[in-house]
């Protein structure tokens, strides 16, 4: 893979069976059976299909993913994207028309709020949250 700052591109004719690792940015419109790993940005085109996990800095999904997505920064699911798996990221953007089935773990402000909220839910009242505020 090229180490230049420009986005790399694999068109819809590409079929990969195996793991894919790259740096910077990659736009993928083909089919891959394997895991995708990067510290950069991964864009799955509308015709793209991924069967495996995606672990990147920033993921933009327009196609179909059967696997989990783990992004350090942001995951964007564009219209007509399909995700059958879990999402874990600091920020999540979902457009109208997306099909998802899985768990989401998105907490841009850190886990403090989510933990406190969970505790309040278990205890059965909001008194803890209100008093702490």
């Amino acid at each position: 893979m090229s180490s230049q700052a420009q986005e790399n591109f694999l068109n819809g004719d590409t079929e990969i069976k195996g793991n894919l690792k790259f740096s910077n940015a990659l736009r993928f419109d083909g089919k891959i059976e394997g895991h995708i790993t990067s510290d950069g940005r991964f864009t799955l085109g509308a015709t793209g299909e991924v069967k495996g996990d995606i672990q990147v800095q920033h993921a933009i999904i327009e196609g179909k993913v059967e696997g989990n997505i783990n992004a350090k920064e942001k995951v964007e699911l564009k219209a007509n994207a399909q995700l059958l798996g879990d999402v874990k990221a600091s920020r999540l953007v979902i457009e109208e028309g997306v099909v998802i089935s899985g768990k989401c773990e998105v907490n841009p402000e850190g886990r403090k709020m989510a933990d406190a909220f969970s505790k309040a839910g278990k205890s059965g009242s909001f008194s803890e949250l209100v008093e702490k505020k």
Partner: protein
């Protein structure tokens, strides 16, 4: 033989002012009291209205009445009618004519239209059409009294409410262990119980909701908290505050950038803005329409 005097009292002579009056029939002069009402002419024996003869101006004033032309709507015959009259019979076709409606048709039709709204009886679901300003309506089918007025809670409310109006819970008010069934609800304060709205529920900033919820639309503003423990059924949801519970929405769920969501989501459409916090299971897609609408 002694003759007894006549026992009948002698007529007294009128001692007072009299005026001359000419009989309107035979023109003979009569002497009458000026405050008299009527008398018979001594010549022709006709009844004379003293006041009318003495003060003819009053009589002529009485007979002078302003009339306006009115066209009969049936036969187009012109009638002269008093402008303040109610009704009259046409002299040609003998149909009754509503004078006010014929003279002022626009005003009459405007007054007759009353705006109504359609509601269903809470008990038997019969269609009712009360006036928009009505406070309540009795069902013609089952006789149940359906409340239509708005409720503004002051202090603490602990009894059930059932109305087609709006429920407003201010920031210093609380609804505690109550079941409310309303058209729209605006919650600024605390609500613990079950809430059903025909249209929309809005949880304003600072609001606290705990219990069951059923509505067409739910809006959770920033800093509002919602803890769903019982049933939940909403078709369209917009969350900008804190939400704990499961969502089964028929159509649409939107998480704004200030949203904090903990729970599961099952819906046809999901929109998540950058910045929203989401922890839980998510199932989104048009294929979920049947499952979602069954709720």
């Amino acid at each position: 033989m002694t003759v007894m005097p006549d026992s009948k009292p002698k007529p007294q002579k009128f001692v007072g002012r009299t005026v001359s009056l000419f009989c309107p029939h035979c023109k003979t002069e009569q002497q009458v009291r000026p405050d008299g009402v009527s008398m018979f002419c001594q010549q022709c024996h006709q009844l004379i209205d003293i006041q009318e003869v003495l003060h003819p101006k009053t009589k002529s004033m009485k007979t002078t009445v302003k009339t306006v032309p009115l066209i009969c709507p049936s036969c187009q015959h012109e009638e002269q009618v008093r402008p303040d009259g109610i009704s009259v019979f046409c002299k040609k076709c003998h149909n009754a004519i509503d004078i006010q409606q014929t003279l002022h048709p626009t005003k009459q039709t405007e007054q007759k239209t009353t705006e109504v709204k359609a509601v269903l009886c809470f008990r038997c679901k019969a269609e009712l059409t009360p006036s928009i300003n009505a406070q309540a309506v009795l069902c013609k089918k089952c006789g149940y009294r359906n409340d239509l007025q708005d409720y503004h809670v002051k202090g603490v409310l602990s009894h059930d409410i059932e109305t087609y109006g709006i429920l407003d819970v201010p920031s210093n008010a609380t609804v505690l262990n109550a079941t409310a069934r309303v058209r729209d609800a605006m919650i600024h304060g605390k609500y613990i119980g079950k809430l059903t709205a025909e249209n929309e529920i809005v949880l304003k900033s600072g609001a606290l909701f705990e219990g069951g919820l059923k509505a067409y639309s739910l809006v959770l503003e920033s800093n509002a908290q919602c803890n769903i423990k019982k049933e939940f059924s909403v078709k369209r949801i917009v969350i900008a505050g804190h939400y704990y519970g499961n969502i089964i929405a028929g159509q649409f769920v939107e998480l704004k950038k200030t949203a904090n969501f903990v729970g599961s989501i099952v819906t046809q459409n999901l929109i998540v803005e950058a910045g929203a916090s989401l922890m839980g299971e998510v199932k989104v897609g048009p294929h979920l329409r049947e499952n979602a609408e069954q709720v």
